[in-house]
Amino acid sequence: MFYREAGQFKTTYAADQALFPIHQDRYAMMVILAIAFIGVPLFASDYWLTALLIPFLVFSLAALGLNILTGYAGQLSLGTAAFMAVGAVAAYNFQLRIPGMPILLSFLLGGATAALVGILFGLPSLRIKGFYLAVATLAAQFFIPWLVTKVGWFSNYSASGVISAQPIEILGKAFDSPQEKYLLVLAIVALLALLAKNLVRSRIGRAWMAVRDMDVAAEVIGIRILRTKLIAFAVSSFYCGVAGALYAFAYLGNVEPDGFNLDLSFRILFMVIIGGVGSILGSFLGAAFITLMPILLDVLLTHGSRAFNLNLEPGVTSMVQLLVFGALIIFFLIVEPHGLARLWQITKEKLRLWPFPY
């Protein structure tokens, strides 16, 4: 009834190629953006901003980066956290070593450094595929945090190898309140998501998908495999690098390189799998599920046990939370193995027919 495209005619090529060809989608997106940019900073508490929304956005960006590589170009990677570490460390060093360096440029250069490292570790992808490539990217995962801790220069000879991110200041304005940090992260993530959405619809994106679906066929129709794969590695690592810089600068403040461990890489991979492989929206849904769901369960369990006067030991709620979270992951994967994004797509199709399904 509400979600129908009848009567919406496309009269130009531009209209046909629009990001959101259906009016309802476009308006919904505008409303979401308006809420995110105006409503949330006005009404959300500091807790929501610093503990939930900023990490959610940062992880969305990292998941987006991995989704470009794994979901679109079909190259499985377990080095996501390492590329985030490169971004964080590089941004920190650009900021530290070049006086008067604008912080946004540091983030960009951090991303660019991560892209270079990504290309380097993407080189084996020409010869090896699938799980074997995943194992090759593991090399990045172990090598980079090791290098950062081994060579004191990267952390400015900090005794413990911890990087203390500099305060964020753009054009003389300090971004130190949770609202300002949130807005900065949101703006960067929104911009990069828009870029990604367009990138995957472009010639490069189609080349990635061709390589993913069948590389021999892609080569036959004239797609240069090596270049396509390396671009995928570069773009993906760039996104992860920027996410890593934001993780350090806007979220944690002080980062130890060990924070970027294999666990984090797996978490981001799970975000992509649960959210939807090969979907921009899926990256956001997956990040929301993985970062916010455990906290939600924790809060529900703590309050629930208090409401029913169950004197649970503090550790028990945590265990129960892990159990329920695991069960939920399995539930969602059984209901929809293609991820939350696919669920949303099915919902949209059903909505078109609602309330008179046939």
Partner: protein, 440 residues
């Protein structure tokens, strides 16, 4: 269709849950609320459970025996961090606005989480107390007004251990040419002692080799092969959780004598040694506090808390980490009491508590009064010294318990202080902080 109904229900449940996250009523108004970042699950859960049970038992004791601090009752909420930095930050953000006076003072009980909170504490005006862990150079309170690495820090521990080794070898002059291995947990925690040990090595002329063990440390075959080839005179063990027990049993396997191994205080609890069984016999550890039930405060806890069925876990009472949790809670409570002396007998805010910690003076007389005499050394803090005594006491694991084998002693305190000031000054420049004492 049924799937869709299920989905709808799940979504509604989710939305309802989200709505519940926001309205958290300010609870137990008029009490001194303690926000606790605890951990009882995960690879370090056993250590956390012992410490936080002791902490909560002491808070319960203050409520049950003294009806609070000068009549102000204590209340608390524990949030599970799993020793994970991101979860720790989330817990901190969740607890920081729980009560009108905030969470009093935070004990992160994790060097990683401490690092994550150091920049947040001054903004939120919440003091961090890091008892025997955390950022060492925060001892310089002029640069880190909100951070209190009380009792002893890692650098005190490292120089203390070197001094102890020197004593065993017959004087620090005899250390020249000796070989010492630092086997460390490969994290911010394990890297803290490096600079000071390197400085000691240069000064005393011993050879130092640093060998990392990756988290969580349950596989150390290659590290110990390296140690066997190197043939060190002593191994300093900077372990945590399962890593310590694994090191002890692997040392036994490769035939390295355990009485040439010295742990720091996080590698010196019953959890570590009991897990390794007979392999632990003879192992030394630098300690911040003594173990055992032979202190009047422990008897009070057994009577007033466990006697009324309000205790955490009777098995943990008297263990090293439980006693440490008890002491950590005691210092926090005393800080609040000190602050009350200035600001009045009501719940203290984070700012007021900070003043209380900075002006904390728990001397031997007070310790005896509180029933802690002999368990911990006296503690006196000031603006420039947020650390305190820097004393450690060595214990040896023999016959299934920890026995003290030295008096309270300190290493090269002057060198540690100099390095703390240098490192803090560097941090101040990096962050654009003007060092100075806070008023009020």
């Amino acid at each position: 269709m049924s799937t869709w109904k299920k989905m709808a229900i799940a979504l509604f449940a989710l939305a309802g849950g989200l709505a519940m996250v926001v309205p958290v009523a300010a609870q137990q108004a008029g009490t001194q609320f303690m926000g606790i970042l605890g951990y009882r699950v995960g690879p370090y859960g056993a250590n956390g459970a012992a410490f936080f049970t002791g902490f909560l038992d002491y808070l319960a004791l203050v409520n049950e025996r003294d009806s609070g601090i000068n009549g102000v009752k204590l209340s608390w909420e524990e949030c599970e961090t799993e020793y994970n930095n991101a979860k720790g930050i989330e817990c901190y953000e969740r607890l920081k606005t729980r009560n009108e006076t905030g969470p009093t003072a935070i004990h992160p009980m994790s060097t990683g989480i401490t690092y994550g909170l150091i920049d947040k504490a001054p903004v939120d005006k919440i003091p961090l107390i890091t008892l025997g862990y955390g950022r060492t150079d925060a001892t310089d309170g002029r640069v880190f007004p909100w951070v209190f690495p009380i009792l002893s820090n890692y650098w005190d521990a490292a120089t203390g251990i070197v001094k102890f080794i020197g004593d065993k070898e017959g004087g620090s002059g005899k250390l020249k040419g000796k070989k010492i291995v630092l086997l460390y947990h490969d994290s911010a925690y394990g890297k803290e002692p490096h600079p000071v040990l390197e400085a000691e090595a240069a000064k005393l002329g011993f050879e130092l080799k640093l060998i990392p063990v990756p988290h969580p440390g349950n596989e150390q075959q290659s590290q110990w092969l390296q140690i066997r080839q190197y043939k060190p005179d002593w191994v300093i063990l900077w372990g945590w959780g399962v890593m310590t027990a694994t090191a002890l049993s692997t040392a036994q396997k490769v035939g390295f004598p355990r009485d040439k191994m010295i742990g720091n205080w996080w590698a010196g609890s019953e959890i570590d040694t009991e897990a390794a069984g007979p392999a632990s016999e003879g192992y030394y550890a630098a300690s911040l506090n003594l173990a055992g039930k032979n202190f009047s405060v422990v008897k009070d806890v057994e009577k007033f808390v466990y006697g009324k069925g309000k205790g955490g876990d009777p098995k943990l009472v008297g263990t090293v980490l439980w006693n440490r949790g008890l002491a950590a809670a005691m210092y926090t409570v005393e800080a609040v009491r000190t602050a009350q002396g200035k600001y009045g007998k009501k719940p203290m805010t984070g700012e007021q508590t900070r003043w209380g910690i900075e002006n904390l003076n728990v001397d031997q007389k007070r310790l005896d009064q509180l029933g802690f005499g002999g368990m911990v050394p006296p503690l006196r803090l000031s603006c420039s010294d947020h650390g305190g005594s820097g004393l450690v006491r060595f214990q040896q694991w023999e016959g299934g318990k920890w026995n003290p084998v030295s008096e309270w002693m300190s290493g090269d305190k002057a060198m540690v202080r100099k390095m703390v000031e240098e490192s803090a000054a560097k941090y101040a420049i990096e962050k654009g902080i003007t060092a100075g004492c806070m008023k009020g």
